[in-house]
């Protein structure tokens, strides 16, 4: 990995004719534009190199559009409303190469830790730096569910995904999403047939290695009245300077039920940017559990459209940030159809000099009467230097709706702390127990035991006095 030097002035470009002295504002704008172009230039070169011959035409056209959009938008800056608290300047200036063999070995060495003790054997697809690794995957237990590498689907049936890629994720204003579409090499396509219930969770494991950038793309489709649990986990070996820019699209047919777990536990030096975009049809249920534990900088855009009457959505989120980590989640619940229900609870635990951003938007469209939407963001600060920006927003265009939102940020309270200490727990242990308790309701909602246990293990290791924190089954 290397940092791009600011480009030298291009000697072949004639200097602009001296005109009336530009205003300070104009000068600043010009400078910004120049630095933006410098920033994306190496990315555009890298995109060009990723171009593959023989892709279906529709995809090539989509990629061209996406590339143009990315070139036009550039990387967001803190002057963009949606990125006010999250600077990606350092990420934009970093040049990522292809993974070296050594980095891959690191990843393989870390594999056991990422594998949840083999809990998902037979239902697990593994990707390293965005590419499917058949020799690491095991997909033997899937019966009628199809879990296939995206690249293979494109090869086998070039038009199968036409109209599906980008069907949920709208990249008009999101440069990283455009970048993903322009750059993705592979990913997963999960398809569950009508009225079929998948027993046992499907695991999509994305491993990033040091110095590598990847743009994995996932498409999950649940046909009418089917049910499944899909776990996406994003990891990288300790110390890896990786960049993962993921995009997941979920399409739920009428009456379908998806439990969607997303675990981000990348290295403390990693950059992780991701979009999850879900469309929920009539009487379908979408439950998202997003656990954000790793990376130096992590941004997740989670958008859900409730398109069919009676759609039911739950978003459970937990981020645990320490040191200089920055965790940013922007969620959007878009109620389009009537009688939709959405419940969102996001919790953040921040220590050290961590920064957290939780932006939550609820939109109720004109036709979406009888919407019942509730959104809560609760944050616990463990140090004076930690900071969180929690911004709930409501945009309501229907009159017969119930909407509630709230955001709270606080420290560990004195009264319970004293209560626990007065029973003999030392201060550290009492604090650890209270942090544990704060996170407990989000963690306990995780029905996938290996993931829940790994989050509990993470919390136990992270909390200073692990002794006071309950075992997996107290």
């Amino acid at each position: 990995m290397s940092t791009v030097e600011p480009a030298a002035p291009d000697a072949t470009t004639p200097a602009p004719a001296p005109a009336a002295a530009p205003s300070a504002v104009e000068v600043r704008e010009t400078q910004r534009e120049a630095s933006r172009r410098d920033e994306i230039a190496p990315w555009l070169v890298a995109l060009e190199a990723l171009r593959r011959k023989g892709e279906p035409e529709w995809l090539a056209a989509q990629r061209d559009d996406a590339t143009a959009r990315f070139a036009r938008l550039g990387f967001p800056t803190t002057r963009d409303e949606a990125w006010r608290q999250t600077s990606v300047a350092a990420l934009a200036r970093t040049r990522f190469d292809n993974a070296t063999r050594g980095a891959l070995d690191d990843a393989l060495e870390s594999m056991p830790a990422f594998r949840f003790g083999g809990a998902f054997a037979g239902r697990e697809a593994v990707f390293v730096n965005g590419r499917f690794m058949p020799e690491l995957s095991s997909l033997g237990k899937l019966a009628r569910v199809r879990v296939r590498p995206l690249r293979q689907v494109l090869a086998d049936d070039p038009d199968a995904l036409c109209g599906l890629i980008g069907a949920a994720a709208d990249d008009d204003k999101h440069p990283f999403l455009a970048l993903n579409l322009a750059a993705f090499q592979d990913g997963a396509v999960v398809e569950v047939p009508e009225r079929y219930t998948v027993h046992g969770p499907i695991h999509l494991l994305f491993i990033s290695t040091g110095g590598a950038a990847s743009h994995p793309r996932v498409l999950i489709g649940l046909n009418r009245n089917s049910q499944a649990t899909v776990v996406e986990s994003y990891v990288s070996p300790r110390g890896a300077h990786s960049f993962c820019n993921a995009a997941t699209e979920v399409l739920l047919g009428d009456g379908a039920v998806l439990d969607h777990v997303r675990l981000q536990a990348e290295s403390e030096k990693a950059y992780h940017v991701a979009t999850t975009a879900t469309r929920v049809s009539r009487s379908a249920t979408y439950r998202s559990h997003a656990l954000t534990l790793g990376a130096a900088l992590s941004r997740h855009d989670l958008g859900v459209r409730l398109e069919g009457e009676g759609a039911d959505v739950e978003l459970h989120g937990l981020f645990v940030s320490d040191d200089a980590q920055l965790h940013d989640t922007h969620s959007k619940l878009d109620h389009v159809a009537p009688h939709g229900t959405s419940r969102e609870v996001y919790k953040g635990v921040l220590g050290g000099r961590a920064r957290g951003v939780k932006n939550g938007l609820i939109v109720v469209r004109p036709g979406a009467q009888k919407t019942d939407a509730q959104q809560q963001s609760r944050n616990l600060l463990l140090s004076r230097e930690a900071l969180v920006h929690a911004t709930p927003q409501l945009l309501i265009h229907a009159d017969d709706v119930k909407c509630k939102h709230g955001a709270t940020t606080g420290q560990i309270e004195d009264a319970p702390l004293f209560y626990l200490r007065s029973r003999g727990l030392d201060e550290e242990a009492a604090r650890a127990l209270l942090v544990w308790a704060f996170a407990a309701d989000v963690v306990s909602k995780l029905k996938v035991a290996p993931v829940r246990e790994s989050v509990e293990r993470f919390l136990r290791e992270r909390l200073p006095a692990a002794g006071a924190v309950p075992g997996t089954r107290a």
């Binding site: 004293f418 200490r421 007065s422 029973r423 727990l425 309950p470």
Partner: protein
């Protein structure tokens, strides 16, 4: 050895002096009742003894089993055998009662050089102690005090006391909020915990409790000082006459 000796204790809460020269001596095996009007400083005394941060002692001494209690952290006091049953027990959502109590009991046992209890032994102990105050076992598994009724919270405090086996227990209005049946149950639990090695300080407004838990001494706390002390008859006198008559009497030698 004396269990507790409080000498000329002055304490501030948020910069205001609440305890204004309180003196009290408690011996092992004794039960002392402290009564007094609202706001006189009873809970402040209880919290100072338990070591609540923010309660600032400006003058005086507290000697517990021959040691300076005031230099110890709340957890050290608990491990040394001081227990406070809170007037308003705190809810701790997400922390299971038994889990928390096991961590507490083992911290105390470790401090006393006893082996830690494993889950099985601890559950057996809980069962036995919960029966003492007729606390439904289901409540011991729930989050600490969360959604408990007022009476259940008070019972839970005595249940915790029974499990932690303190040398000095301070019960701050454990009787308030209890109906007569619950009061009888809790009092009988407390009586079973009386022993020659253990001392108790009962803070109460009502003679009622003292019909069930008969104290060795009764003290009246008013305006941050013990203004009068006596035997159990004093409680009856207070019940009949209220506190007003005390204000006219000079404070006994106990204060200052």
């Amino acid at each position: 050895m004396t269990m507790l000796e409080v000498r000329d204790l002055h304490a501030n809460v948020q910069g205001r002096e609440i305890l204004k020269g309180l003196t009290l001596t408690v011996n092992p095996g004794e039960v002392h009742a402290i009564m007094g009007p609202n706001g006189s400083g009873k809970s402040t005394l209880a919290h100072v003894l338990a070591g609540r941060p923010g309660y600032e002692v400006t003058q005086g001494q507290v000697i517990y089993q021959g040691r300076d209690l005031l230099t110890l952290s709340p957890e050290e006091r608990a491990r040394e055998g001081v227990f406070l049953a809170f007037q308003y027990p705190i809810e701790v959502p997400g922390v299971s009662n038994v889990y928390f109590l096991k961590a507490a009991a083992n911290a105390i046992r470790k401090h006393r050089g006893l082996p830690e209890l494993d889950a099985m032994d601890f559950l057996a102990l809980c069962k036995e102690k919960a029966a003492l105050v007729e606390l439904p076992e289901e409540l011991t598994r729930r989050a600490v005090n969360e959604g408990f009724s007022g009476g259940e919270k008070k019972r839970n405090e005595i249940f915790q006391m029974a499990v932690l086996d303190p040398a000095l227990a301070v019960l701050d209005e454990t009787d308030s909020g209890l109906d007569i049946d619950a009061l009888r149950i809790v009092a009988s639990g407390v009586n079973k915990l009386r022993s020659p090695q253990r001392a108790m300080i009962l803070v109460t407004h009502y003679q009622r409790l003292l019909d069930y838990i008969v104290p060795d001494f009764v003290h009246v706390l008013a305006d941050g000082r013990i203004v009068t002390s006596g035997g159990k008859e004093l409680a009856q006198e207070l019940e009949a006459k209220g506190y007003a008559w005390l204000e006219k009497e000079p404070a006994p030698a106990a204060s200052r």
